[in-house]
Symmetry: D2
Subunit: 146 residues, 4 copies
Amino acid sequence: MNDKANSVGRRADYRHFLTIPTRWKDNDVYGHVNNVNYISFFDTVINRYLIDAGGFDLHQAPIIGIAVETFCRFRRSFAFPEDVEAALRTGHLGNSSVRYEVGLFGRGDDEARAEGHFVHVFVERATNQPVPIPAAIRAALEKLKR
Amino acid sequence: MNDKANSVGRRADYRHFLTIPTRWKDNDVYGHVNNVNYISFFDTVINRYLIDAGGFDLHQAPIIGIAVETFCRFRRSFAFPEDVEAALRTGHLGNSSVRYEVGLFGRGDDEARAEGHFVHVFVERATNQPVPIPAAIRAALEKLKR
Amino acid sequence: MNDKANSVGRRADYRHFLTIPTRWKDNDVYGHVNNVNYISFFDTVINRYLIDAGGFDLHQAPIIGIAVETFCRFRRSFAFPEDVEAALRTGHLGNSSVRYEVGLFGRGDDEARAEGHFVHVFVERATNQPVPIPAAIRAALEKLKR
Amino acid sequence: MNDKANSVGRRADYRHFLTIPTRWKDNDVYGHVNNVNYISFFDTVINRYLIDAGGFDLHQAPIIGIAVETFCRFRRSFAFPEDVEAALRTGHLGNSSVRYEVGLFGRGDDEARAEGHFVHVFVERATNQPVPIPAAIRAALEKLKR
């Protein structure tokens, strides 16, 4: 995703998928999933991937990923009880930080209903100081490059 | 579930199951799913069942179920990225109201980690006045009696 | 609050108050604050009181309060952008556990719109084993007895 | 805010402020307010302003503001029980859409801990088609221009 309004992401643009069912309270007063929850879907597909593919231990790891930037563009809404298929790829992979690119798809849709990015900087949990991305996590992120 | 601290629900005590994956932000500062989210799991398995089995249309239905009472007892915690298996049965089924009984199970667990109840009163959306439970919903709820 | 449907709590029944403004996404598809959020208001008035009056340090304290039971009865709804006035008193105060009784009031209302209880058991953070309630917290809780 | 990493917003850059207390469950496993909730603070200061200053009726208004883009850059964290002071100004004000610029400040801080933008497009609730921003809302938004 290049943050340009005229681009529309497709499934083939992404490397990893996670199905996230909606919950009753995700819907807001307008009857659709509230925009805030989309960022939670981003957060969830990303951290789950770090855990499953990168061996990240959220309880004990001395180095953790902290959000420094989030962006989302909304094209079409979701509504409970739909499932969201969250799609992930790795954008810029720096020394301490990574830009994840995320698309949210409806079941069977080829075009993303929402797309955005999320930047993590990896820091030492104890000091909050940026450090290089741990090797196992970096290896997992390399696999999701476009 | 009889709200007694010494009873522990088992899978065989329930009639319907829905898997609800946890989300990153469900975990609170103590590293486990915050208690508030358990009630959202109740809300989700219940309303989803009304939609799927009772033909409930949350956007248009003239009669809706409003929460009047919730209760949860917590025995063992969940933590992201675990899945929650939400289990449902129908307790007291009145003219306008129903008491749902809900258990939350970990994958493969036979004993519930949390159990509780949730009472809906059905009201006319326009007036907020109690009305009889619609027939299609009542039929779906009858099927989940213990 | 005695969990009986015919009792209605009043302001004079409570000992401590905290104003909690609603947020846009608290409202659900029916246009009122979703029931799940009420339990978050309970959680918030309680933990805030432990911090402010009991000197509780959520980040470092070796002994923490874990939710073991929550109950809420809903009488009248709230809707964003209303403020919620959360009212607290101490119910049963045991060796390791405490039952908080909570009422939620609208601005200027004398009758609670919702009432319930919340039980904390205090445990050692490292082992999750129940321990006596720390003295400073116990002293703070004694002050809120009815 | 110009979305450039080297700019840091100050209070004087904003036109309207709303205090939003944090809630217990806003904190995530790392002990700070989860990034997702920042977008809820944006959503809340914006919609509350539309209601209070623009006369917007979220329940009945035939024209509503739908989120089409959100962005947030995080510099310093918040943690429960801190208050967030959400600051708002109007960026680009188009025919059907408006870009809100939002800063989140700690009590007494002059530099924003987080900043971002949020774009609403106004649509007819019944058809979801873009329409001109209603006059009362436009007048309220004009007042928050930088």
